[in-house]
Symmetry: none
Subunit: 199 residues, 4 copies
């Protein structure tokens, strides 16, 4: 089966793809989503405007792709707990890392941009949010699953729901408080751990 029939004519420049996404990321971080324009992206990428449109129909699409490509990841994801870690410590560490990450103006800008981009696609909004939070979600679920194995979390808990709740709470706290309410996140950790603890 031949899935790749070579298209004729000059092939698209992979370099241009990269340059466009990077330009979009840089401008996004610098000026925010609203100020981001196709025009400016093309100029900064050193690329014709049509070359951008040939690839993506709108800036929301570009931002989405940049997120997918991992060019815009807000929270450092390597929160794998050490051998001697416990569930409470792991969870608190994750939440603290998230809080620190979202304290940074750049990352906050990215989150807001994401929200703005999601507001105009409608169809892509869900995909966009999921892509953005996928890594953290996986990490959290792994973390909790490990805790279940250690009998620090009860076996019948809905880990996915917990992970979503944590991410939602973290994002909301980051967006609605400046500086982020770290004590809220600590309380949240206590609360969840109490709820998740084996009876």
């Amino acid at each position: 089966m031949d899935d790749e029939q070579r298209r004729r004519g000059r092939p698209r420049s992979a370099e241009a793809d990269r340059a466009i996404l990077e330009a979009a990321r840089d401008l996004l971080i610098a000026d925010g989503y609203e100020q981001l324009t196709m025009q400016a992206i093309a100029e900064r990428a050193g690329v014709g405007r049509q070359t951008v449109y040939r690839r993506w129909p709108s800036k929301a699409g570009i931002v989405a792709e940049a997120v997918m490509a991992g060019l815009l990841s807000p929270v450092p994801s390597d929160m794998a707990g050490g051998a001697d870690a416990t569930a409470p410590a792991d969870l608190r560490a994750w939440l603290h890392a998230a809080a620190v990450g979202l304290s940074d103006a750049t990352n906050l800008t990215i989150v807001r941009a994401l929200a703005a981009a999601a507001a105009e696609t409608d169809a892509g909004a869900i995909r966009l949010y999921r892509a953005f939070t996928e890594q953290g979600r996986t990490d959290l679920i792994d973390l909790l699953r490990t805790a279940v194995a250690r009998c620090e979390v009860r076996a019948d808990a809905d880990l996915e729901a917990a992970a979503d709740a944590i991410q939602g709470a973290v994002l909301y706290t980051a967006l609605a408080y400046r500086p982020p309410k770290v004590e809220h996140l600590d309380s949240l950790a206590d609360l969840l751990l109490a709820g998740l603890a084996p009876r």
Copy 2:
């Protein structure tokens, strides 16, 4: 003593204020935040463009004001539990109401618009989110406080943190899932209630 020194010249039309906010709300719900333009707002409000700019510098400001004025309240707020209600029932009822509210395309549009508006103000973003969620937050805290009084929730719980976490989780679920994962919210309720329960 009259501290109200009458300002000179023709006073601003309160009618125009109202018309502008309503026009903005209608257009926002109909077309989304990105399509919303100062031009269109003015036209629909039957008002000169300058009359809009005289009051608000940008569409983000108008949306913010509309939120403050309660013209855009996403979640029905009269969730006061009945006399025989219990904490689990109340919380589940609130979460269900929120889920139902955010299932509505109109309210989802509003939430997304809010996120987009918040992305471009920077200074006003926090104020905006807080205004938007204030009512629900108050309701939730009241609800939980009542539960504390009934000894259904332990006295040393951080109710504010819980309320923020709930709102964040609900909003995130609404934005990242379509249709909203009601079962997630149910699990979330279980989790929180377990965590909040007296030891």
Copy 3:
């Protein structure tokens, strides 16, 4: 009989009249007719906008009035020839004075403004041009009539036609040449004097 029935209410401020015309003149000289606005006139005159509109319907009207009031006279008019003057000398003196007057940037600006103002009134254009040139026309005709009396100009010459021709030629030369072609005006004087001389 008193046909002047006193009007009721507060009488119009003569001071305002003056201030408006002077403001218009100053702004006109400074920035040209196109930049002249009712707004700016009112502000510079220290007067409400309505106070201007109450008196004149448009900037063309104000400029016309300013011309009528002699606030904008381009050519110094005291060209009355001395007792020992002769027609050739008088005419050359007048043309030189006109050329010198129109060499001044201020006066040139005024002439151009006049042309612009005349372009938009249509009805008032003729009145405007005539008011502007009336003084010079009268002077010229007097000058020529004196010359007729001295038998330096033949009696059957059409002095009005000559005066109009002179003014037209002078204005055109001022508008179409920069610096003004004084030698053209000298040649014109020669030409006209030859044509006007007694046979």
Copy 4:
């Protein structure tokens, strides 16, 4: 050798140039210079507003170009005298034709528009007047030169000064009198011919 280095990008539409100038001319004739707007020009030309600004910075520039392009020539120029014509007859014929031309409301509107356009360019004013009158000036000088050859005009006359004076007088008469004073022009012709006649 090719000194014409091809400019990059899509070339400007010559069609748009033409459409804009024609639209400007039509609107100018219809409504006068003051009512002429870049907006209206673009609409009538069926062209984007930017396409107009890309070419000319202001309506004065457009009017100037239209004059240069001969789209706005007020006086029919083919006044070449017949074989049996004489200087007096030719000159009178020219003046009459000019008077007739400027009697027409359209042409008068154009002349006034020209004056208004000239009032706001300052730099281009002279160029504009000269372009507008160039054809007539040339015709007049030719006419007078022919008369010199026939010994109907003396050889040392300053023909350029005479031509400018005639044009100025004609334009002024057209602007300051309504209906134009044809008898003044006749008198002017007599006067000039007497002045120009060989001694």
